[in-house]
Point group: C2
Chain length 304, copies 2
């Protein structure tokens, strides 16, 4: 039998967030649309809230003002008594509105992002629980092209630093490829449809109408981050190899081309087992020392 | 008979410029490569210089610090006695090194750019003279996929504000689509090959070895800039229509979809004759109020 509100409690408050990164316009303009037309989000048995998470970064069309807001939800940040970092002030304010210690916590946070990598339509999990598994299985049945990336680095590290970690049932929607500071209508429409499908799912879930038969779900589990080859002074020494560019979620085998040095020399993947890279060539990750993220597919059986 | 050094004077000094926009990394990293390996640019009968044009914008990974450097080469900017705008200081310095009034002017400036639009490999002319026509015809014979955009708004307006306008025989190389602040190896390699081909051409030209038979060349001539539909307060009211996105250099006919409003309504192209839009959805052009640039193809006969 599926997870339903009958056996797990209803979802009462859902938050949809855009502009956690101020230059990712897909989420920003979806939030603007929803704030202009709140009836689009209205359902019968729960409340939905919207938030432009980093308005100052949006004003200056940059990812962040002082620090990546989506890494500012660690306990030490949320409990910092007097930070002068704008994004920490902001994470504290968001937690005060919606966090588990707030007077009115939300059950689910859906955080809208975009990437220069070929992420297609990706759901990013930071928690693997029954609700997230089932809503994902439901979305996958409607949008078979959706990929699921499980950004759970370690079960022993519950303090994920991302905004969605404030809620029990939170995840991100990532779309790409798209450059920062622009809109792509096809990706905008896709992300919009996914949001409506999630809200429809929650409405049925709250009514106890969700009965899943057992089914399988493939997720891509985080293994590790890979940086670019760099010079002794930290400068880039290579680019993503043309044969790897755009091949997110595809198998990379030992010996396959991975980077191209500026002198034309290829660097090959030297691991002993295949990996499935994602976030290949995400522009915002150069400064984070991430050229791509290695994942491996796992098959889950969804039955609870 | 073709234009050669015998009948028009030799090209003595060539400048290759990257990072006129600090977040367009293709040009920046090509310049870094050339400065590390100057032998790549060395030819027998002319000198080649390189320049990272806007180093402060590159340091902060932004298009510009105060103002778009590629619009700072109007006479009033170059003659401004005491500007506190970084890019005007910079345009004056570049003009003092290479401009027509400098002790050692360059004959040709090749300015490297990238775009989020599907520009492929584009040469941008700001002057239509025999040298530019012939080098373009030569490049087109090697790289048939090259497009030529003629950014000559009016013959009566000789004061083009772009960096390359400092030289008689200057043009830009534009590659895309690529987001700002990242590298795409395939586009990097393409731009690099075009530069070597230009240098090889100039070497032959100086030797009087260039003899063209008559041939035709299609160029896309600037007609006008088109902004996004906007609200009364100037906010975006629509996106590029999915059916137009990525279709740079393709014919747009009266009645074809052009924009998609956020409520789902399509806005159609209302002109009376076809146009060929380019720079469709260039991220840096939202703030310039440019959604795309209308052009029309013209066929030139290259015989001088």
């Amino acid at each position: 039998m599926g997870l339903t509100a009958e056996n797990h409690g209803k979802i009462k408050r859902v938050a949809i967030v855009g502009g956690t990164h101020g230059n990712e316009w897909t989420g920003v303009y979806l939030i603007k649309k929803f704030e202009r037309s709140p009836e689009l989000l209205r359902r019968s048995n729960f409340e939905t809230f919207t938030l432009l998470a980093n308005p100052r970064a949006w004003e200056i069309n940059r990812r962040y003002v002082d620090r990546d807001l989506n890494r500012c939800f660690r306990r030490e940040d949320l409990e910092h008594p007097n930070s002068d970092i704008y994004e920490i002030q902001r994470s504290q304010w968001i937690a005060s509105q919606w966090g588990p210690q707030s007077p009115s916590p939300v059950d689910t946070i859906i955080d809208l992002h975009s990437s220069t990598a070929h992420m297609g339509l990706t759901l990013i999990w930071v928690k693997n629980n029954a609700f997230n598994r089932q809503v994902t299985a439901y979305l996958k049945s409607i949008f078979p092209e959706i990929n699921i990336y499980s950004w759970i680095e370690s079960e022993s590290e519950p303090a994920n630093p991302s905004l969605k970690s404030l809620s029990n049932y939170g995840f991100s929607i990532e779309v790409g490829p798209i450059a920062p500071g622009m809109l792509d209508a096809a990706l905008f429409l896709k992300a919009e449809k996914v949001i409506y499908a999630i809200l429809d799912y929650i409405e049925k879930y709250n009514r106890g109408e969700i009965i899943h038969s057992d089914r399988t779900l493939t997720i891509y589990q985080f293994i590790k981050q890979i940086d670019y080859p760099r010079t002794a002074t930290g400068e880039l020494a290579a680019m993503i190899h043309p044969q790897l560019q755009g091949r997110d979620y595809q198998q990379l085998n030992p010996g396959d081309p991975m980077f191209l040095q500026f002198d034309g020399t290829t660097i090959y993947y030297q691991g002993e087992t295949p990996v499935w890279p994602i976030f290949i060539n995400e522009a915002a990750y150069y400064e984070k020392a991430i050229a791509m993220i290695f994942t491996e597919p796992q098959t889950l059986i969804i039955n609870n």
